[in-house]
Subunit: 151 residues, 8 copies
């Protein structure tokens, strides 16, 4: 990882469709193939995971977003098993395990309160969950704004 790699990542974390040539200009490489080689190397190293399309889910009928806190029951490997079970639930976009009095924070996206209620129905019967606390998101100012990371 050198400064050139960082510049490449700075570009593609925001837009992965930019031409290799243009990325080269920004990062100081004079051939598209050099850019390509470095991207390939970073993919192999697992630094670049995937290219995805960002969707505006609000536009296709998803209007019920929440931050949901989950408190788990203590026990052997309590957070690992639960973390894995949570990360595959429909509507759960991210699962983070925290230090402090909250165990997990889920980011959820659902069509409406009813669909969310179905997710809650699953959560409240899952082994290892003691309490949940849901907060409805009124306004999503930015999500996945990775361009804020100064590489």
């Amino acid at each position: 990882m050198d400064e050139i790699d960082r510049k490449i990542l700075s570009v593609i974390q925001r837009n992965s469709d930019i031409e290799l040539k243009k990325i080269g200009v920004i990062s100081g490489l004079n051939s598209p193939s050099a850019v390509s080689r470095r991207i390939g190397y970073m993919k192999n190293a697992g630094i670049i995971e995937n290219n995805i399309s960002l969707i505006d889910y609000k536009k296709i009928g998803f209007s019920f977003y929440t931050i949901t806190f989950v408190r788990a029951k203590y026990g052997k490997d309590y957070y690992k098993d639960l973390g894995k079970a949570l990360m595959v639930l429909p509507g759960v976009i991210s699962v983070d395990f925290l230090l402090g009095d909250i165990d997990f924070v889920l980011y959820t996206i659902n069509r409406d309160a009813e669909e969310y209620q179905k997710l809650m129905d699953v959560l409240t019967t899952m082994d290892g969950i003691v309490r949940t606390d849901s907060h409805v998101i009124l306004t999503n100012f930015s999500r996945d704004n990775y361009s804020n990371i100064n590489l």
Copy 2:
């Protein structure tokens, strides 16, 4: 938006590098150009926002992740101005405005505690912020796992 559009989005929200032909097979379109036309239409409608590369920031030296709660001072347009000011701060990846006793939830990614402390130095002098409450993320089970959304 019909079922075919939904199938296309289901694919590209996970992987935007898949060949148009393959997307066609999955979504039931028999020509890559038909896929391309629909993707173009959804881009114009703002449903597809952008293609980006997902980076594993842990692998390039970012090891201090937090969920930070922000409580704002009430006043005219209190949350709009503050929301906009928060979403451009370095290290702040997402900004959500919530119903309830927390106003904003920030997701932050920094190299280490010191770099995060610099972000805190900004937050604690920003007009309109009354309190913050930071929770260190120990394990990130999944983030941006949009494949959990049943389109």
Copy 3:
């Protein structure tokens, strides 16, 4: 549902004794029978549920009002069964199931603290209730002020 229906509802949600003729004038219908027809239609559709008399219970000896929070134990259908059990308890006027760290909010009206204590005696032995938290209402500024709804 059109604008005329809305005007009719605006009137009768506040006062169901108003003459059909008068409602017609307000809503722009020129015959009482047209008003009547529309009311009948909305009754059949379940939009109008019932006519009731509002009683000032304070005047007939009910002086102990509370908002009581109930926290339930998680489990299959945990909130549905409990919600139904709560809604028939004497003195319980409304039962709402919430998102967040409170599960149910009850509005209770009793003659005095002793009568309320009897309700508490039931709540604290009900299966599925973990904790209650009662808040005495000192002043009831308005209740069932449906005229605040802009139809």
Copy 4:
């Protein structure tokens, strides 16, 4: 107020459209005019306030219900002025002033989160409000179930 009055109220708090004759049978009066006299007396005494139609607002597009807590700033007559200001806000159905660490509890009914946000915009700029805390109602088991009051 005697037992007969109580029986009359028991009936009409649930259904004000019941025939006087039937009310007479239930309450032990043998003439509709005796029922009518007593109802008239209780109206004059302010015991019976009004007859209203109960509307199922969910059926006409109101799907965003909340319980909203309000904490007020202390000062002379702090709760009286604020209570009055709150009870006329659009979407606010009831306003209760409590003993304890919550000052006011509002019951709100709005079409959707956006309409509620407008109410919040008013609340957060009102003089005398320090904090609000909103809880979305997922299920309304019963509201205005006055038949639970044992008269």
Copy 5:
């Protein structure tokens, strides 16, 4: 109970050693025996319970005062049995059962932290107690200041 009784109580709740004659002057009775009769009557009615000497326990080696909150486990008669068990524990001066999220408030007086710890050792093994929360009293401004009651 008339105004004269109230005046008598006003005096003796502060000082039960005042001469009957003097109490008569204050309460408007012209004979000590009339005062005596009324006091006797109020004793029989249980209005006057007892005469006691107030002791300044700080002066005789008791320097560890607390307010201790107790949260009880729900169940049949949960608060009655526990209340009775609490009111005989050494060092526990008063036991009150509250509405809200605290069940019992104890006022305790002990010689020092060690003696209090022994009380805690009992509390933490008592059936029906879920949690306690102790607050050390730094300054006791007034206790048993019944003269503040306007009879």
Copy 6:
């Protein structure tokens, strides 16, 4: 202070009307005058403060008891001035200043919620009070049960 003094206090803290002779028997003194001398000495030393009559205020119309928490504003001598101001308010029976997140605990006795509301009206306009939090006492198991103190 010796063992005999302690025995005398043990008796009179519960009942100050017991004959000196009887107190002598209990405490091991063979003359009433010796008891009297020791009581006199302890009065001079401020150990015995006063004799009072305990009143059952519930029996004479006081039915609204609370524990009220008060949070004060920091500043020079903040708790001393406020403590003194609180201890003379009508209906306030005891005032204790605590370590921890509650500053003052008041024990209040009033006729009813309205009378208490008047006390609240004073508290909420007093300089130096930031918040109050009132808890209604449902059952008073024991108060001033000094016989629990093992002298």
Copy 7:
């Protein structure tokens, strides 16, 4: 313990390497052997426990410090057994048992979040621990600054 002993302790609690002669000058003793005698006496009495070297652990790779609250399950000797079990865990520097709603406060020093996670893995499976709540220390202004104690 006299004033001279206090002066000796004042010196050596900050620096135990100071020459006896110098300590003598500060504490008013004119011979090093008199200082030595007094130190020996205080060691025998258990007043002086040990001499230790203070290490700057940050400099040798320990960068993850926390204050961790532990809530224990009630039961016979609940805090004694748990306290002892906690005080030998690797990374736990101090264990204090508190009055109030927190039971134990741990001060922990670990190399990084992963090492701390291993400590958490132990805590969350220990018998008798109900909840933990970890707070990361961003800046350690002073620790073991015993020179602040005015002997």
Copy 8:
């Protein structure tokens, strides 16, 4: 820093009076002078800060220990200035600045509640302190138990 240095630190963090020869045996150095050289090097590097005597303050009249939380007012460099001001207050043994809803944690040692109250009198008038929350330590299981650190 190598394994030998670590072994030396492991010894002297517990006991700095151990003979150099013995330390040599434990750490695998065959001459006291080699131990001495390494200790000198680590002192110069600031790894070893100081040798101090641990005092059992309970034995010399200090019996009031607390953990005190401090919440600070936000502003430029808010925590740095306050942290420095706190670390020199008499009775304050450690000052740590935390992530989360508590700003500072103080460890205090005082003779008794009165002496602590004087410290509180300072804290409650200090610029920049919004609230404090004190927790009395009942039992100190271990403090400065650096031997728990696996070097």
